[in-house]
Symmetry: C2
Subunit: 254 residues, 2 copies
DNA sequence: GTTGACTTTGACGTTACGTAAAGGTGTATA
DNA sequence: TATACACCTTTACGTAACGTCAAAGTCAAC
């Protein structure tokens, strides 16, 4: 399939001027020029434009995009995976912002108070950078959880301290579970510790704890696809593993 | 609390030049000018800057932001709610992009094929607009679910058709449940229909269906805070209601 | 009283295009 | 065959939201 500027433009949702500009700065040159001087784009160019728009969406400068897509060692699949990572980060940033808006609405309605510093949380990339320095890459996963928990805290009307404890516990569960999964033994010390942390976490939400309900929840982690996806995101099989660990922990594994 | 340019700048994560620019275009003027000509900002200015950055984050031009925040009839709380709506939309757009990246990775690995048109899905606001026209506002909720299901489909290695069926079913469950909740009767026709649709949905993921497991899952929707938050998002109490409906449906309500 | 970190007002530079001007091309229709 | 009209071209200036100097005044501390 061959495209002129307008055809490619409307396909990709961008202006013809943009395509000419991309030609000008050498980021996307047409496959060939027709006898009358028209720009003609082909399959390769379509794919490349897709790449360019991906990165543009992320806020990467065209200059940098140029480096990325023209690098001879350009590994498409790998670049996409990195790209995906960045999109996920951006979504987390967005979640923070949304949480901030929720808070601000509550503030406007006089339900809570906010410090000046808090008012800018979510805007600042800085915050995330700081966390990255402290905890390294895995903080991203945590932040995802954090955001989820934050929204839960809202539903649960938790105090700030309670919420922090709960978040810390949830992180510990995730970490311990990941370590435990590496051992492969659901009856092992780590797996049992994960189950115990999970119990502690649950007591924040349950009025009374029972082994049966805990075991049931473990089973559910395998039965409900949403949960399976949640736990298996990093390591497929984690949900199943966790279920086994909880069944052993609660003594319901007969 | 009073702030100079740098103090306010570092608080909000922006440059001093930006603050001076905002003064210049009349979007954020300092509370007063010190005897030596320094810009001094107060509480009102902090709050206003927060508003400005909110809208900036959304991609609103400073010109439009000016109209928004200087309007005498400016309803802060309402503006925030609209803002929140837009952020949620933006997140959905992001989810689309992520889905697209996932697809493209699959493409790169030769697992699927994609049309040129599909390659630009997620970039184009147009698509979302089209859907809005067709289905109205509630599409947003659906899209949220859709995205969730999409990621699950990936985990489950579904075919495209299966995925579509599952998504449709999930939407029906949500809709029927919402209608049923309005009746207030978990034993009523609508609630029982929701439970039945939920069963159908589950059979896509479960190898064998049992009333006990289904009832257990219903109970879990109340016990696990993440699920409660999920179902209660639109209407608090929905999770509890759904649990009751499922217990009645499965005959396990004794 | 002199650093050094702060502030001020210009003023020009930058990115990623938008927009208009002036003109050539392709093809359907009168 | 003319002409209408939607397409294409290059050239060039305009723009938004700042970044980045430069030159000069201010403030607190040693």
């Amino acid at each position: 399939m061959e495209y002129t500027v307008q055809k490619l433009g409307s396909l990709a949702g961008i202006s013809t001027r943009t395509l000419r500009y991309y030609d000008e700065i050498g980021i996307l040159k047409p496959a060939r020029i027709s006898s009358s001087g028209y720009r003609i784009y082909g399959q390769k160019e379509v794919d490349r434009l897709q790449q360019i728009l991906f990165y543009r969406e992320l806020g990467v400068s065209l200059d940098n995009i140029k480096d990325i897509v023209t690098a001879p060692s350009f590994d498409g699949a790998n670049a996409l995976r990195e790209h995906r990572e960045k999109l996920l980060e951006k979504r987390e940033q967005l979640d923070l912002l949304i949480a901030n808006v929720d808070k601000t609405i509550a503030l406007a309605e006089g339900r809570i108070k906010m410090s000046d510093k808090e008012k800018f949380e979510g805007f600042k990339q800085k915050m995330i950078d700081d966390n990255e320095k402290k905890y390294g890459k895995e903080i991203r996963e945590k932040y995802g959880n954090d955001t989820v928990e934050k929204s839960n805290a809202k539903v649960m009307n938790m105090t700030k301290e309670q919420h922090e404890e709960v978040t810390a516990l949830a992180n510990q569960v995730t970490e311990t579970l990941a370590q435990a999964f590496a051992t492969g033994d659901p009856a092992g010390e780590l797996a049992q510790k994960a189950a115990d942390l999970h119990k502690q976490w649950l007591t924040y939400f349950w009025n009374e704890y029972s082994k049966e309900a805990h075991a049931g929840l473990g089973q559910m982690y395998v039965d409900d696809p949403r949960f399976t996806a949640y736990y298996d995101e990093k390591q497929p099989g984690t949900a199943e593993f966790f279920k086994d660990a909880i069944l052993i922990y609660t003594g319901m594994n007969k």
